[in-house]
Amino acid sequence: MRVREWMDREAAPRSTFAFLDDGAKKDVRRALLKAVAIPGYQVPYGSREMPLARGWGTGGIQITLSLLKPDDIVKVIDQGCDGSVNAVNIKKFYERTAGVEITTDTALATLVQTRHRIPEEPLTDRQILVLQVPYPEALREVEPSEAQTRRMHAEADYARMWLHLYEDIVRFGEIRISYRYPCTVNGRHVMDPSPIPRWDVPKLHMADALFLFGAGRERRIYAIPPHTRVEPLEFEDHRFRVEDFSGKSCARCGATDTFLDEILMPDGSQTHYCSDSGHCDKRRAGWKPC
């Protein structure tokens, strides 16, 4: 066979269901089971290169690809939005490689993959949320070395993280961590919940759904099972607080109970829209949250 012919054959559409080879899927699956068994602990795995760049959700993609069933209904969001560039790219990839159905309705989805948000509508115990993670290590903020942070987790030594929060309060009167707010999971491991806003952190606590976190570039997988304690780090006299949207509402659906994007108008004024676009659309169509 000539090289050219061989290359033509290589370029033929792949027939593997869900793109990844068997070995890669099994590696991810084994890591997922350990991750669920030790909530909040980061399990290392091989992490293959994906046809999307490192940093563009390859960790979440590898998890989803090892889970997908042909009858799944998948929702993919980025910043809460179904139509954002990253989400569109990823959906195209799933449609092409697994032939799954895509939805924007959280309630219809069996599997939701997300970057930086958790949908407003509560997830049920038959749903899985896959989160894309850039930095799996909550302690990276206070310690750059992986060998050191691993030791700190082993010894449950989180003193430096607490000190970091305390110093913020002393210097600024506020904890400055805006998103990626560190949480204690199952009373043991301090975990980075991925760059979700603080608004979404309470949704992780004692939830009905399973949360899976994938960091492709850093080669780590971790999880929060349903009905698991997830507590943001806070002091008794300095409580964890979510973003403040008091006095604001969505200009599209009127919601006052959702995370709002701040939109700058051409005249310099501000308006607000729901960050969860699917939820906002549903409300506009007359649906009421129960």
Binding site: S15, T16, F17, A18, D22, G23, K25, K26, D27, R29, R30, A31, L32, L33, K34, V36, A37, I38, P39, Y41, V43, P44, S66, L67, L68, K69, P70, D125, I128, R150, R151, A154, E155, N186, R188, H189, L210, I224, P225, P226, H227, T228
Partner: protein, 189 residues
């Protein structure tokens, strides 16, 4: 690579994941399988490969063990080095001590134990299970398992996050899981 087999494994993995995310919840591993051997083979095919060390403790039938090795391509290793240990009824008879429980830095380098039992029930057990994945408490029961095995498991999982994670497969092709994060209280001791 057979596409149908691949899809069957995807379906099985979702049930396995659901089982470990909801300790004590029982379901079929596959709608098409209603026996223990079939379930054990599908389980192995979904998770094991040449990167995984496999061992048996107690009297797992040798033809089943060799079939597991053949269909998944996993390596047969000593009990102390295994990633997956399959155990037939009535239990490990103390061999659980020799199974890897991970290290403080890498608690994930522990073995997963797969118990092949007679029948699983969501109710009727004499120990209460609680912890992640369990709203309140559950009292599952595994017929065919020596009740002393629960004490050994409690002991093996007493220094969380070190420990072993367990799956139970029964003669109806059902699956149930007990990760190391599950607390067991009560019992006959």
């Amino acid at each position: 690579m057979n596409r149908n087999l691949t899809i069957e494994e995807h379906g099985a993995f979702r049930r396995i994941l659901d089982a470990i995310a909801h300790p004590g919840r029982i379901q079929k591993l596959s709608d098409k399988i209603s026996d223990l051997d079939g379930a054990a083979l599908l389980f192995s095919r979904t998770l094991l490969d040449p990167e995984t060390g496999f061992a048996v403790a107690s009297s797992v039938r040798s033809d089943l063990a060799s079939q597991i090795v053949r269909t998944s391509g996993c390596r047969l290793v000593d009990l102390e080095k295994a990633d997956f240990v399959f155990v037939a009824k009535p239990g490990t008879d103390g061999a659980l001590d020799r199974i890897r429980r991970g290290t403080p830095d890498w608690p994930d380098t522990s073995a997963t134990v797969v118990y092949l039992v007679e029948a699983l029930h969501e109710e009727g057990g004499d120990r209460s299970w609680s912890g992640p994945g369990i709203p309140g408490a559950r009292f599952p029961k595994a017929e065919g398992l020596d009740p002393r095995e629960w004490d050994l498991l409690s002991e093996a999982n007493s220094t969380y996050p070190l420990g072993v994670d367990c799956f139970f497969l029964d003669e109806h092709g059902q699956i149930m899981a007990m990760p190391r994060s599950t607390r067991m209280d009560g019992g006959t001791r």
